[in-house]
Structure formats: C-alpha cells, structure tokens
Symmetry: C3
Subunit: 330 residues, 3 copies
C-alpha cells in the first residue's frame, strides 16, 4: 500500500511519473478514474484552495469526497503511546485513523506546525500517526514539514513552461510578511525542485535557515537527479539568471530564536519588478498563494508578464488527480 505524506514516498522516479501523467491529462478530457472512490479529507487547519481542488479532483473523476473540518483545537488527537488521556485530547490516533479508513478509500490530512519548535515540526507526529495507523493510502494536504502537492504543482508549472527541468536555474527566495509562517511550502519547493534536477538556489536573510534535515534530503535528491542546491544571503545574486523565481514568506529558524516581528525587518526582500529584471529574460514568477500584495510581492510582479500564480494554482488540481491515481494503482 502506498502513502504520500512526503516526497520520500515517490522520490525522483515517482515524481517523473506523476508529472508526466498530470501534464497529459491536462490536455484531454477528464478521465473517470475515480468512480466508486471516496476520499476522506481531514482538516486540522483550515483550507480553501486545497479543499476546493481536491473536491474537484474527486467530482471530475466520478468519485466523491468527505470533508471533515476539525478546526484548530476542536478535535485534538493524542499520538503518544500509553498516554493517560485526561487532558484536552479526546481521541487517540490509534482509533481515529483505522476507523476513518473503514469508511473511505483514501485519507488526506492537513495539519500545521503545532508551535512546539522546529524539531517537533520536523518529526510531524500527527501526519506520521495517520500514516502508521490508517489502513488505506494516506496523503498529505500539508503538514508541519512538507506540502508535497504544492511542490508537485510548482514543478508541473516549471515543466509546462520550459519543457524540461533538468539543470534549470531556479531561486527560492524568502519574502517579508506580517507574521512568521510555517516552512512546509518552501521545504517542498526545495525538495521537489531538487528531485526534478533543477539548479536550486535558496536565498534568505540571516536567521531564517531551513531545517538541516530538509537541506540534507534536498542535496540527496539532487545527487540522484543531477540537480544541485546552494544557499545564499544575497537575494540579487541568487536571482541572477534564474528562470524561475519562487517567493515565499517563512518564519525564523527556531521558535526560541528571532521574534515574531523580525519577519518585517527585511522589507527590501519583497519580490519586485526590479528583482525580476535580474532574472533570465524568459523567467517566470511563482507563489503558492494566498499572497499579501505589496508586502511579500509587488503588484508589478503579480500583474506583470512573469506571473504564473493562477496556472500554478490550477496545477494543484492536475497533480493531485495524478497523485491519487498513483496511490490507487499500487
């Protein structure tokens, strides 16, 4: 039985298969590949884009989705073995995951960082608990550590623009925001671009390092795919000659490190037309959305010739139905 809670589940080879089918299916009629198939979607954190795109995947494919929005803290799951459950966690994942597995054919889970620090986020206990105790294929709709569907949509967008992503120079650049954000999206762009063979450049101010385990995994994937990963604190140098500029706000390296306000301390890191002018002449701009205009990214970029942000969001649909197919056909 396959799962897809992180890129390690499909790797370089699965990525190729999923993107190839997604691109092919985008050109044709909707295949009815999900008749009599139910996807159970469990949201510990709210979602609109992810929810709408997965519901569309199931409806277009002839299947259906059951959406369980458990909200922040409304339904807290216990994941620790042997716990005496006398606190606010009313159900153990040892019951929740197998029970839901009896009603549906696949489980999709969204759960964000719990605020326990970077090490705990990286261990991703809720997502890994579902993976362990579910008896149907389980996929991530974003967790504390990764957002694999977003990474797939990002690379599909690069692939449909440039044909190939082998050796493609791409920059993941940190962007300012009004508050610290989780690292799942930048992690997944980095990992997926590395697995797709890109020359990945990561630019961020001091103190905003991605987690070591993610960087190591990205380098290992790049080694397999013929790509590379480099880090810099110089945004302009990173973008120089890049054919993809990917901007994203994320929080400081450690929760005990830089404070919440520090994300506003680098307003010059905004993605601007001036920055895009340094990129390759055919460069495209991507962002996972939602985006705070004129804080993270200037209007001139989003409304300019570079922007692929709406296509990128559409591609969530295409990669997700290909991923669901990959999960089911094992």
């Amino acid at each position: 039985m396959r799962h897809a809670t992180g890129i390690q589940d499909f790797g370089v080879e699965g990525l190729e298969e999923i993107l190839t089918r997604a691109l092919a299916w985008k050109q044709g009629k909707h295949p009815k590949h999900l008749v009599d198939t139910i996807l159970g979607m469990v949201f510990f954190n709210p979602s609109l884009r992810t929810r709408a795109s997965f519901e569309a995947v199931m409806a277009r494919g002839g299947g259906s989705a059951i959406v369980l929005e458990v909200g922040n803290g409304v339904w807290k799951l216990e994941d620790r073995p042997g716990a005496v459950m006398d606190g606010d966690r009313a159900e153990h994942i040892r019951e929740a995951a197998p029970v839901l597995s009896r009603y549906v054919d696949l489980l999709a889970v969204r759960t964000f960082a719990a605020g326990g620090g970077d090490a705990e986020d990286n261990a991703d206990p809720v997502m890994n608990g579902f993976r362990t105790f579910a008896t149907v294929p389980t996929l991530s709709m974003e967790s504390a550590r990764e957002h694999p569907c977003q990474g797939l949509a990002d690379l599909m967008t690069a692939r449909e623009t440039f044909g190939s992503t082998k050796g493609l120079p791409v920059t993941l650049t940190w962007a300012p925001h009004i508050k610290p954000l989780p690292k799942a999206v930048p992690n997944s762009f980095l990992l997926t671009a590395a697995a797709a063979g890109c020359e990945v450049r990561v630019a961020h101010p001091e103190g905003f390092d991605l987690h070591d385990s993610v960087l190591e995994q990205a380098r290992a994937l790049a080694a397999q795919s013929g790509g590379s990963v480099s880090l810099t604190g110089d945004q302009g140098a990173a973008v120089e000659g890049s054919r993809v500029v990917y901007a994203k706000a994320w929080g400081p390296a450690t929760s005990s490190g830089l404070g919440a306000e520090s994300v506003k301390d680098h307003p010059d890191w905004i993605a601007s037309p001036g920055l895009m002018a340094k990129a390759a002449r055919d460069a495209i701009f991507m962002h996972c959305l939602p985006v705070r205009r004129n804080v993270e990214v200037a209007d001139g970029v989003l409304d300019g010739p570079w922007s692929r942000v709406v296509d990128e969001a559409e591609n969530r649909f295409h990669v997700q139905r290909s991923l669901v197919q990959w999960l089911l056909e094992a």
Copy 2:
C-alpha cells in the same frame, strides 16, 4: 459569458425565460442537465436554506457542489487596487476569483452588507469583485444590495398561484424585528415584482426608505414591463385589495440615522390576520424566512390560509436550477 449577480443581468426578458422553465420543470422529472458540472459556493456569511437548495440543485441535476464556508471575517478578501496588504485581509480578490474559476464551472457567492453604510452596500464591492475577476459565470446567493434568487422564487410563487403577474397588486410591507436587517431581500422583491409587471406598493415607517438607486431601477423595470411602483407610510392603505402581501424586516435608511433599537418602535407593523383581512379575498402571504413568529408575523398569518412561505422556499430550488441553466447555455 453570463453572470447573475443582480436583476440587471437578466432583466424583464430573462426573468420570463427563467420563471417559465422553473414552472415547467417543477411539474416533471428532475432533468439531468448538470452532469459533469461543478458549482463552487463561497459563503462569506452563513446560510442553511440557500446552501441546501443549491446543493440539491446540483445533486438532482447530476452535478456536484463544492461548499467553501469562509465565515465572518475568517478569510477577508482585499478588493482595493494597489493596496498594501499588511492588515487583516490576507488575499486579494484578483487571485481568489480566478483561482477558484479554474476548479469549477460556476461560482456562487454570498456576502452581506459590511456595515459601512448604505452607499457602500449599494456599491457591493465583494460581489462585483468576483464578477470582474472570475473567469466562469458568477451568481449571487445574496449580497449587500440584492438577493436575486429570492426575488425569482417570490415571483414564481405569485405566478404559480395567479397564472400571470401582469398588473397584480402586491404589497411589500416593512415588519418589526429585534435588530436591523440588510435590505437585499426587500430590494429584490421590489425589483423582481416590478420587472414582472406587478403594481408594487411599498409600505414602511418613516426613516426606513430603500436606497434611491434601487427605487429608480425598480421604476425603470416597471416602465418596461407595464408595472408600477408606489410608496406609502400607511400599511393598511397599501394592503387594501393586494393579492400578495410580502412582509420583511429591514434596517433604517442610513446607518448613521436611526439607531438599532428603532426597529422595535413599530410593533403595530406586525403582519397580522387583521392586516390580511384588508387584502383581496384570494390574497397570499409570503416571507423569505427565517421569520420571527409573533414579532414580524403573527402565528395566525403563518398558520392561516394565506401562507405560501414553505412553497416559496421550495421554489428557491426550482428557480435556481433554471437560473443555473440560463447561465450555462449562453
């Protein structure tokens, strides 16, 4: 591409087409006219009746609905061009509307008055933003200014009772409530009745005028359809000989004018059996629901021979599937 965010989108001619088909389809088997069609429903304000009736439209027609309940303020959209988005509005309608358009075949939006006053409500920025930036047909499930589906259901109910609405004397009367309510429903009853050729009488206490732009539009529609619009502060005189009595609570003319409590200052405006006795002998009573019994409308009216409120609610289903058909066949 057609939209239906207000009566101006279909006008006198479209109204006739939509009602005629709704009445015909009510008599027969459910047509499977929505196979492979997805309706995206975006609720900025909660709904039960509207949501249930639209989901039923899609299910009965063979299609499906995706419901996005964004709640009050949970997901605030920016609509101003050039805004620096450093406040509580986390996404611009320039991204939200085109992205959702990539997942669905039609978009339906509900958004209430924002409390910025009658002029702002009348400009209806969120609904008009979706209309502008969506790339699929967009329809209103009630906005600050209009509730076109309710108006259609109201006139369908009059039409199925009396055969024709040409020259039909109908009264829209203000009713008391425990708090001020939006004007979208009375606006839409007035506009749709005028477009259907009714002799529309509007009765309300001083200070509860509907917006000038709505009254002007109603008069223009009446001029086209052969109907008429008159205003009065005398409820009994208005109802005299009316064949439809439509009661609805709404708030004062301007938010800076009369206070919240003033809606309770006219308890004698309750719709009562005594009032109904002044109407025509075959008069029917309508209300959009929910209704506060014995505050807005007396039990004797709702449980009496005049009431068509449940049929009127059922007709939401019938006019909505006809409206969806109208949107898709353009």
Copy 3:
C-alpha cells in the same frame, strides 16, 4: 411514512430486519440503492464518525448528502407553540423542518441534551419537533435520549461475532471520565440489546441511574424478545461470565444531583484487562468511541484480543445503509 428517531420506531421486528440486511450487505458488493436520493443531515452538535459514515452510506449507494452544521447555538430553533420569538431562537421548527423536507428525500438530525435536566432530555423536544413537522422520513443521528444507529451497530457487532444474540449475557458498565457525558449511547445499547433478546446486565456506581422511562422501555422490549434486564452496583459480578462487555461513561442521574467532578470519583471502574478476565473466555469488548484511553478503558483492553471497537465503528456504516433502506421502502 416511517421515521427512526428511537427504537420504538422499528421495535423487535424491525431490528431483526435491519440487522439481517446489514450483515448480508457487508458480505457483498455495495448496492446502488440510493441513486437520485438526497439525505439532509442537520447537526446541532458536531460529529466526525457519524457524519463520515452517513456520507459514505449515501456515496456508496449512488446518492448524495447535504451536510448542515449549525453548531452550538449558531442557529437555535424555537419549538414552543405560540412563542413570541424575540430572543435568540431565530427560526421556528414549524418552518425549518417542512422547508428542508422540500429539498431532500430524508432528514437526519443530531441534537444533544440541552442541559435542562434529565426530564427535559427525555422529552427530546428538538428531535420530536423535526419528526412532527418534517414531511419526509426523519432519523436520529443521536439526540438527548437515544442514539439508535449506535445501538444497531453495537448489536450487529455482537451478532456477527456470536451468530445469535438470544440469551447472550452482555454487560453495560459505567466508566469514569473527566466530565459528565450524555446518556443517549448507554440508553440505546440497553434498549437495543434488550430488543435483541440479550440477558442485559447494567452496572454503575450509586447516583448514575439511567432514566426510569428508559429502563421501563428496555424491560418491555426484553419481555417481547425473550431477553432480560438487571441492574447492579457491582461491576465485577455483572461482568462474570458476560460475553460482551460494553463500557461507557455517562453523567449523574440528575443535573441537580451529583456534581460534575463526581465522574472522576470512581477510577476503579475503568475497564481493565483484570475486569475482562472475569468475563466469558470468548468475550468481546465494545465502546462507541471516542474513548479516553487509560481513563475510561485501559490500553490493555483496547489493544488486547477482546477489542471490537473498530469493527463496531465500521458497522455504523452497514446498519445505517440498512436503516435508510428500511425508511425508504415503507
């Protein structure tokens, strides 16, 4: 027209019919018995298991579900005849139930105890209001008094394990919890087991009596089915030789009686491997879930050879589709 808001609606004979079909359908392919059928689900209280299992019933059967989550107090319904509705109850059940009935083919309602005491809970005004004013078959997804679908799933689990439930010794034992819980689940286990002909033993500490009307009804059902009902304050004696041990936390007999904290006063009532050792050698353990591990039930029971809790949850799906069939075929 049939309803199923409590066991009185189907009784000993209907129980047999519903369980027999549920067991048969569990062995075969999903029947497409619900094509063009819409279930409206109204949740006054949140749910995950019930919601997911009913949505799966409708999707597997070829129909669809409309989920209306009205939350706690968001949409309070008035049920009193003649009420002047100037408080927080914005709609009367006399409108809500018939209107929803126009959109769907069946209505399912979940509403918990309102905190007005055991007598009010037992009268179950919201569930009975829907039953009275709906014009389509209405079923309970748990109310203040009963949770008939849970009772059906429980007895299906006993039936599939032991073949027959005639004369089967089963114990319903109270369990400790961090707060008082409603009695609908223990009530329904008791009533359904009695109707299935079991020798039902109920064990609880002093002050936690079930309602007299429920006990009387259980004894009447036992008299019809050849079963029996006995009460004891000695948990070990009850479990002695039982082939089913059913643990469940519930609150004190009267809200004005024992306080909230008292449910923690009997930690020794936890369902433990030691307790299970007193049961019959082939005994099974059941709980409706969610369960607080090591408060209500020890890990050793839930992870041991006795536990059927996940099968029991799966059986919610099977009994519910059989119950829906029973409602529709009348």
